[in-house]
Symmetry: C2
Subunit: 453 residues, 2 copies
């Protein structure tokens, strides 16, 4: 019984059996593993055992296992298998996984890849590639079983049986009419519970929720999350069923979208993970950094235009990092609330106005608290009432500006159909830096003769 | 046919029928709605229609619908129904949803709430509340159907039929032995495909993957994501099946964990969404802001200790925001990569060393590029080679410090079993601010006599 073994023990056992060529033993072990576990074992195998291992697996199992590998490993495993066998494996893989694999390749390589596949399978994949990435059309799979509304339960179960290997293991059968239009859905459970002679039309649920081909993947994720679906059907403009999107792909979408928001908020550049090479990571981060460098210089030139004020009261420099920093911080706080809020729900004008008023109220409360605090500190530290007033008043104003910029800018970007997280992280920091320095030195210059007393 | 109506039209139609008391009409409409849609309609109904609407729904439908409401609305809907009926609804609700509802309440109120429920149901909920929040024990539901390994397929289907209303609509039946130990799993599809007389033991999949009661919810999410499961069973230390966690709850976990990471990275305070009241939002954000204010003053006091250098070369102030800002930015970039990386996989020592080396290499590349750029700019702008050198050299060093702080601090927090996102956003900004100013003014003071020429 391998049930009680650890991953590592299983891995060693497989290596031993590969070496000795014990096929029956290997089959028994592999029969009890999940594709994900098989993939982990494959990744950890020494290079010269890898092909032997792959040859132990049947085509459908290979297809499931390869989908769990990283994209680089997927390509190398398929190459190991040779054109003919890899074509068969590709025929069996989910077409959404193939599409995302091809996404990274040159047209030349794509052609070579698809050449080993069956015509009908490769044309489905090529079809999918015509939809923009991150839309329903790119996420859907054609591995599902549809039934006609005039079938009875027995016919539906028979069809399910004959396509058993083929169908994604989700819970529903989608029902279509003569024109392939989506008209209903029945769950496997409904089938188990119904009488064999019931007509599908009578047991199906008619108000099927579906998404059009061009729906953004974030919206698809929201629907599945909202309705607790295990899958959602994708239809074209005529309501014809084109594919389904399953919940496991949606979990990946949710993670990907959250990572994208974080990347954008932190200006950390696209898709850098633990595996990314240094040169590539540097290349992806540099554009933002260079932009931010110039932005920093704008702040610098504002300071330089107040050089006169600053050289007369050097103490003004002491509070500069605090004021710029605080304005940036309140901006980022509001921004994070708005960006994540927009990711999880649609908003209307009423919500927008309520949100802006709320943030304004928050800014006033925070502004008063922090301004009083810093005025006292500045007075105690530098012994100047005027300096205390200048620093406090500046902080009060810049905190309000910072909060409002962090709230309103992402809302405007959203309204303009630009992803609100896109530029707003660095954008808001910049704007806030500049506005806060202008406010601070503006107020200070106005009171300069009092400050110098 | 309501299939073709919009949400709004359905809502109006329901209001009209509620007013006129057309029960049959109402039942036809409601029969075609998803619980989520029912919940939206409920939320938008005028206050005096709400109870009438609730009374149209059967207990199981009410349970499903109420789970889709916000927690405030859940409580008010249950109160509208009165103690007896709300008790029955609670009996039917998923116990993980009840547990998360109770989580917000005083012990007094919890008691009152549970008093209407059946003893066995309320004791299950009370049992769940003993597990720490964000663990498998708190997420699991007892709404699943288990079967014995010696059943045949017919007996399994019969059991499923008799518990049809009760079971979560997932795809699996979990198999237990005489001691309630989890020994296997069969999918509904397996049941449909098998012969009615097959024994479950022969068709079940034995290597069931399960999680212990105290597993962190993030780990549970990772398992479900990894294996593309629709549900995962929860077992106690003796391997006895205690409940299951379904994929729809996991999507919520993934979203919640991502939001938590963003909240912490942006120091925006716990759980502020569009609905949070201004005072509460301000109260949750202020602690970080006050902390950051004092941190800003530390930077200020560093500047003040270099007052002499600064007052001699005021131009040094022009590059201050840029240097502090850039150091903060590279730190945040590395931090975001590490925090999200840690959220999606376990790491070993090898990965840590590779990651630190990678980030160091990135820092060198970025540091050289930005330092050369800024040296030239400083030279052209201020006409001083020495200033160009001081600014460039400072930026080179602080970028390396910033990147390393952003990489190593979250890894140390992770090693100490502290959530790496916890304090590292503001923490890293602080440390980087202070280190960058020390480096900059340190180098500048050393070259001060050259700078003054």
């Amino acid at each position: 019984m391998i049930t009680s073994l650890t991953e590592e023990q299983i891995s060693t056992l497989i290596q031993k059996n590969l070496k000795e060529g014990n096929k029956t033993e290997l089959q028994t072990i592999l029969g009890q593993l999940h594709p994900y576990d098989m993939a982990i074992i494959y990744t950890n195998l020494p290079e010269d055992y890898k092909l032997k291992y792959l040859l132990q697996l049947s085509i459908p199992i290979l297809a499931d296992m390869i989908q769990e590998l990283s994209q680089d490993d997927q390509i190398s495993a398929l190459q190991k298998l040779g054109k003919e066998k890899s074509g068969k494996v590709l025929d069996d893989m989910d077409n959404d996984d193939i599409a995302s694999l091809l996404d990274q390749m040159s047209p030349e390589k794509i052609k070579q890849f698809l050449s080993g596949m069956k015509k009908e399978e490769s044309s489905i994949v090529q079809d999918m590639m015509t939809y923009p990435s991150e839309t329903a059309g790119r996420l859907m799979t054609n591995r599902f079983v549809w039934i006609r509304h005039y079938y009875n339960v027995r016919e539906a179960v028979d069809k399910l049986k004959s396509f058993a290997e083929f169908a994604e293991t989700i819970n529903y059968l989608y029902v279509i009419d003569e024109n392939r239009k989506l008209v209903g859905v029945v769950s496997y459970r409904d089938l188990l519970l119904a009488d064999m002679n019931d007509t599908i039309k009578n047991i199906m649920f008619e108000r099927v929720i579906s998404v059009p081909l061009l729906t953004d993947q974030e919206e698809v994720a929201r629907m599945i999350e909202r309705y607790d679906f295990l899958a959602i059907p994708v239809v074209n403009d005529d309501g014809i069923l084109k594919g389904i999107i399953t919940v496991d792909d949606i979990i990946d979408v949710v993670i990907q979208e959250a990572n994208e928001d974080i990347e954008k908020l932190s200006a950390s550049g696209k898709s850098i993970d633990f595996e990314t090479k240094p040169l590539i990571a540097a290349y992806r981060r540099l554009p933002w950094l260079v932009l931010l460098l110039f932005i920093g210089l704008v702040s610098g030139s504002i300071i330089s235009s107040f050089e006169d004020t600053l050289s007369k009261v050097v103490a003004l420099a002491f509070f500069m990092p605090m004021i710029a920093g605080m304005t940036g911080n309140t901006g980022t706080q509001s921004l994070a609330v708005v960006v994540r809020g927009l990711a999880s729900k649609d908003i209307d004008m009423k919500t927008v106005i309520r949100l802006i008023s709320r943030e304004f109220a928050v800014a006033i409360i925070i502004g008063i608290t922090c301004a009083l605090l810093i005025s006292m500190i500045a007075y105690v530290w530098q012994g100047s009432t005027v300096l205390g007033f200048v620093v406090g008043a500046s902080l009060f104003i810049t905190l309000i500006i910072g909060t409002m910029a962090g709230t309103i800018i992402p809302l405007i970007l959203y309204k303009l159909n630009i992803d609100p997280a896109v530029a707003s992280g660095p954008l808001i920091t910049t704007i806030n830096d500049i506005l806060s320095l202008l406010t601070y030195f503006g107020i200070a210059s106005y009171f300069i003769h009092h400050l110098m007393q």
